[in-house]
Symmetry: C2
Subunit: 501 residues, 2 copies
Amino acid sequence: MENKLKELKTKLQEIYDLEMMRSLLEWDQSTYMPPGGATARGRQMAILTRLRQERLGSPELGKLLDSLQSYGETLDPDSDDARLLVEARKEFERATKVPPDFAARFTEHTVQSYQTWTEARPNNDFESTLPMLEKTLELSREYSNYFPGYDHIADPLLELTDPGMKVDEVLSLFAELRSELVPLVESITAQEEIDDSCVRKHFSEKGQLDFGLQVITDYGYDFERGRQDKTHHPFMTKFSLGDVRITTRVSEDYLVDALFSTLHESGHAMYELGIKPEFEGTPLASGTSAGVHESQSRLWENLVGRSRGFWEHYYPKLQTTFRDQLKDVSLDEFYAAINKVSRSLIRVDADEVTYNLHVMIRFDLEAQLLEGTLELKDLPEAWHAHYESDLGVRAPDDRDGVLQDVHWYTYFIGGLFQGYTLGNIMSSSFYDAALKAHPEITGEIATGNFDTLHTWLRENIYQYGRKFTASELVKRTTGGALSIEPYMQYLKTKYGELYSL
Amino acid sequence: MENKLKELKTKLQEIYDLEMMRSLLEWDQSTYMPPGGATARGRQMAILTRLRQERLGSPELGKLLDSLQSYGETLDPDSDDARLLVEARKEFERATKVPPDFAARFTEHTVQSYQTWTEARPNNDFESTLPMLEKTLELSREYSNYFPGYDHIADPLLELTDPGMKVDEVLSLFAELRSELVPLVESITAQEEIDDSCVRKHFSEKGQLDFGLQVITDYGYDFERGRQDKTHHPFMTKFSLGDVRITTRVSEDYLVDALFSTLHESGHAMYELGIKPEFEGTPLASGTSAGVHESQSRLWENLVGRSRGFWEHYYPKLQTTFRDQLKDVSLDEFYAAINKVSRSLIRVDADEVTYNLHVMIRFDLEAQLLEGTLELKDLPEAWHAHYESDLGVRAPDDRDGVLQDVHWYTYFIGGLFQGYTLGNIMSSSFYDAALKAHPEITGEIATGNFDTLHTWLRENIYQYGRKFTASELVKRTTGGALSIEPYMQYLKTKYGELYSL
């Protein structure tokens, strides 16, 4: 059995490496590739995807897994090998249930669909994307239908990003959250608006980048195993557990963009870098879900990076970097500016409080589209109606309405948004658990020391990679099920103080 | 047959793309990869190499080629498809003659061997590399012996880099060249030494890089299909015909390094970028030999970039960039400084005149090692003896002797050096042919216009990729066989004037 297991790990490693190489090709495409490289790059990524699919769904892998089945059942179900076997079988079965040509058909479609979107958004032309979206919806349903027996048609899509979560569960969690958030936003926006002009001046690119790099170095992001490059849409990517990179973008007229995107992506990266090195090359060597991943990026971006204690330490340094712009701005003014709450139209620019309302609207709409209770042609108006009801704003057009996010134009309709809000909810649960274990963390942050927090996260979350599911991690760290309570408590305390509610 | 040919091209394209992806992995390793990425990167490159080998030597490819054999014979032997079939068969046969495990064994060995060299060179410890070199020599002979029937044991290795060339041919060409070069170096070094202190001041990295980028933009290097990044050892690499990149390094104390390396690599890149787009994805989509490749890099670096006419146009611009350093340096002084000839120890720092002596020493030595007429333990002394006889210098140690070049520690012993000198020789032949067709080229260069030259090179050399061999290209452009005559004429004229011989 030792040998069989070794053979399995060898096979899994090649599957893993094919995926990692594809990530490198994508990273290069998003950072340095000259335009002329695009055609071949698409072709080359398709080769890696196909080679990976072939191996993952191969009868040899199935036989090997079968031969290890009874051995796996003799192991401690919480042992690394037992979990590896479960995870590998899940990936194998998923690969065999979907016909081999599906991935190719889907990729080909999303390339066209993305192309259509890039033209449709500036032209405010939702109409032109309709045929593409119809096809996307059809393919999304087709995918789900390869996994019959679901409770909700979006469940198989959710399983891809937030494994173990069901649509109904998420809907009820979100309904609870919305019922608390909507009145909170109302009471905040009834107060005097915060003036954030102090972060809307000219800030040099170099100054911004250097400052962000210093903070994430202090966080513990390891530049021996990572780096940061510039791109259009910031992301984290991984080519092995020894090479986890982040990207950022800089707006010289707005201090908040690059800095918080850097902190955010560093959270994603530290999660991956903290995975047990022994998992390298296996399906366990990855963050466990979109939600848990987002909990880590949002924890470092918001719970730490937008906290008052953090800025007690870093604001004097930021003032040194940007002397002219900030010398007359007090810490309180700055802290308020980076935490300003407003009813806005664009998800990616939204503050901590309203952000989830944007996300939940999308989740509801995609569930309805998949169910067939909403038709695509009615989507723009449904979008506006939800925004009016939840956020009290209405976009003047579809450009800043239903066309604003690229997600539905490059992937399935279903499964891509809930992770953002699940992550916000979980970030507070995890952070509270860390503080409970180490109350000194708050004080340490105010001196620019993040070791205790980083170590706690590594020991309780990062190291496990995909070994434990999101619910298991929540259970292990908080003793209970996922609840919105800690998160709402955090928002109410922080913004209650800030807005004197 | 149309369909069979299409099927062949599809198979070849995947083989090509696997190679291109490997190049991207290498490029990233040499430019941006953090140290922690090394282990996985080696593993991932090995996967691509193996996948490529498996496909290239597959019985299916063999059958497909067999089924196209008689069709190929009905084609015009100079047609693209005929040449493609010949080239594809050559690569297939090469792949089938070498056992599948050879590449893996060889790669594994060179990784260790390179590691040994990185420590041995700073420690001046040739002794420690001996076991590695013994093994390299054994593997180099093993490789050659998979191709029985050669005239010289290095011929199969030469076939990899300068296809169509034989060792005996190169040796006799080199003997002729040496007999002319040695006395030329003697008479030059009998003259007063040129003072090149004007290029050995502080020159900012940004100024150097910007200037180099401007020149290669003027050359016609297409930044829509390429880019330049920094690295330790400059190189050109290709990920498709739409993405051909160069790298450079900058020394802020020496103006010559970055600039001429940029011009050099741009020559390699423009060659690849000029290949007929229809060849993309086939074995024809590549420079035809190390020699022809080097002829293009040296042409743009030396025949153009170190010419007086070139600097009539660019020197005033360089003076604007580096006002303080160059305002009191005349064009003549500068031109002399960048063309200074001296007997030196290090190949990569050598001037145009002595450079080939360095190369020919290495070529002779590796031929003798492969033949068994020289033993590895006697290599350091043989090295010194050759340097004394050809260049009149003796390195104080092995660090600047036999340990100076990485080649023998990362590849075969055999086949890697001759291309540099073949390239120099060919550069003059091609350049003379271009000037004969377009005498206006010299005048155009003196105004910073390179269109006629670039177009001539594209039409007569670049577009053909690997369709024609080096000798065929020489024949087509000069009407005769490769001769050292134009090259010696060039050196004698240029350096005769410069040193008033």
